[in-house]
């Protein structure tokens, strides 16, 4: 449990996917013009990340690795399988949401298919491999990473809504200022670097 919380908080705040690795930047910039739509996309990302990272862990561990069911080192198939899992999971999530809650489906709209090409999703799976997490850690990493992405997109959407009323030089308006704000947010998040959440959960 300690490990779980530790990795969750670390991946949400200290090593935020957007602000310190620039993952999922494209949709982060494109969909952050209003808080409402940003919220929808953020929730969908938490959901998809929380599902795909553990599934990709299972695939990597039981099928692709040398000690897996097939007994062969198939790691060169990793990219193709991971992206196929992500694409099909997004499709599945879309179908389930449409069936269970049409209202949520309508509010998410086009953002669901967009998630397939969101680098944060594939990036989290690849980080999970390169950091050699075990299963429960990868669940925590998926959820925490999604939560961090959610926080970042909500924050920038709120700032951009306020910025509409400020006097910015014309060539910098829109995209340019969004980049600079993201940089400032990244520096703010950097203040959390070096904090080891494990200390708080060590039981004392």
């Amino acid at each position: 449990m300690e490990d779980f919380l530790n990795i969750f908080i670390k991946s949400a705040f200290v090593e935020n996917l957007v602000l310190s690795y620039f993952l999922g930047m494209c949709s982060y910039l494109a969909v952050s013009k209003s808080v409402k739509t940003a919220m929808g996309l953020g929730l969908a990302v938490i959901f998809v990340l929380g599902i795909t990272v553990p599934i990709n862990w299972l695939i990597n561990h039981y099928i692709l690795s040398e000690g897996g069911l097939l007994g062969m080192d198939l790691t060169f198939l990793r990219f193709i399988l991971f992206i196929a899992v992500i694409a099909s999971m997004v499709q599945l999530v879309e179908m389930v949401i449409e069936k269970v809650s049409p209202a949520l489906y309508n509010s998410l709209g086009i953002f669901l298919p967009l998630i397939t090409v969101n680098c944060a999703i594939l990036g989290a799976s690849l980080f999970m491999i390169s950091r050699e997490y075990n299963f429960s850690e990868s669940v925590a990493f998926g959820l925490g990473g999604g939560f961090g992405w959610f926080l970042a997109i909500i924050a920038i959407a709120a700032i951009r809504e306020k910025l509409k009323y400020s006097n910015i030089p014309a060539p910098l308006r829109g995209l340019g200022i969004a980049f600079i704000i993201t940089g400032l947010m990244g520096m703010a998040f950097m203040g959390l670097m070096g904090i080891d959440p494990a200390i708080f959960f060590s039981g004392k």
């Binding site: 060539p171 340019g176 950097m190």
Partner: protein, 235 residues
């Protein structure tokens, strides 16, 4: 002079439209600063020149050949499954790049880590396939891919040049051409401990941090749009 021009024409017989395909993405229609595609990886690898040059070459290769492949197949791909087909083609090319780098240049491979894999989800690749290769002939799609790859590469190289020079005082470190320009030891060309004019100079640690890439990117966009008023965002 006229002769040189003549022979150049013979070497690269290009129509005006083809030249436009190749050079438009360098400035007016830059994939990174104008179309806002592929920023994720553009920013993450730019703390030094060498990895960003490798990344630029890898992305150009992937865009050009995926454009070519999809354009050749464009009449045989059913509309409903085109995303999956495109992803498989891209993932195949990226796997080639990954294995090549792993075999021939292991330190760079380690440095780029997951970002090689992330070329798959680089929106430039998907974007060009959807917007161009699905509707155009193979040779033009190939040129369009090269052009967009170069447009992406040029931004990467500008950002990483600034970040490496001001952040570490070196250029091209990790290659045989390494240049140590400015720093606090006798290895550097300008040694700030002994040089009478540069005693005040300290490498800027901000440039090594990821945030610097975003600032430089914002400034590049500012500069480009102030020179080119038709790109200004009115909303």
């Amino acid at each position: 002079m006229a002769e040189v021009k003549e022979s150049k024409k013979a070497l690269f017989p290009m129509t005006k439209k083809e030249r436009k395909l190749l050079f438009d993405p360098l400035n007016d229609n830059n994939p990174v600063t104008v179309q806002v595609l592929g920023i994720c990886s553009a920013l993450a690898v730019t703390s030094m020149l060498l990895p960003s040059i490798v990344m630029a070459i890898a992305v150009t290769f992937v865009i050009a050949f995926s454009n070519l492949t999809i354009s050749l197949l464009r009449n045989y791909i059913p509309k409903q499954v085109r995303m999956i087909v495109q992803l498989v083609v891209i993932a195949f090319l990226v796997t080639i790049v990954e294995l090549t780098l792993k075999a021939y240049s292991y330190p760079v491979y380690k440095q780029l880590s997951v970002f090689i894999g992330l070329i798959i989800t680089n929106c430039i690749v998907m974007g060009r396939l959807e917007a161009f290769a699905m509707a155009n002939k193979p040779w033009q799609s190939f040129l369009d891919g090269i052009g967009n790859g170069l447009g992406y590469g040029i931004i990467l190289i500008i950002i990483s040049f600034i970040r490496e020079l001001f952040g570490r005082g070196t250029l091209l470190s990790g290659t045989p051409l390494e240049m140590k320009i400015i720093g606090a030891s006798s290895d550097f060309w300008i040694d700030t401990t002994t040089n009478p004019y540069f005693g005040w100079y300290v490498n800027n640690n901000l440039m090594v941090l990821p945030a610097a890439a975003l600032f430089i990117m914002g400034l590049i966009i500012w500069y480009q749009r102030s020179k080119n008023s038709k790109l200004v965002d009115i909303s």
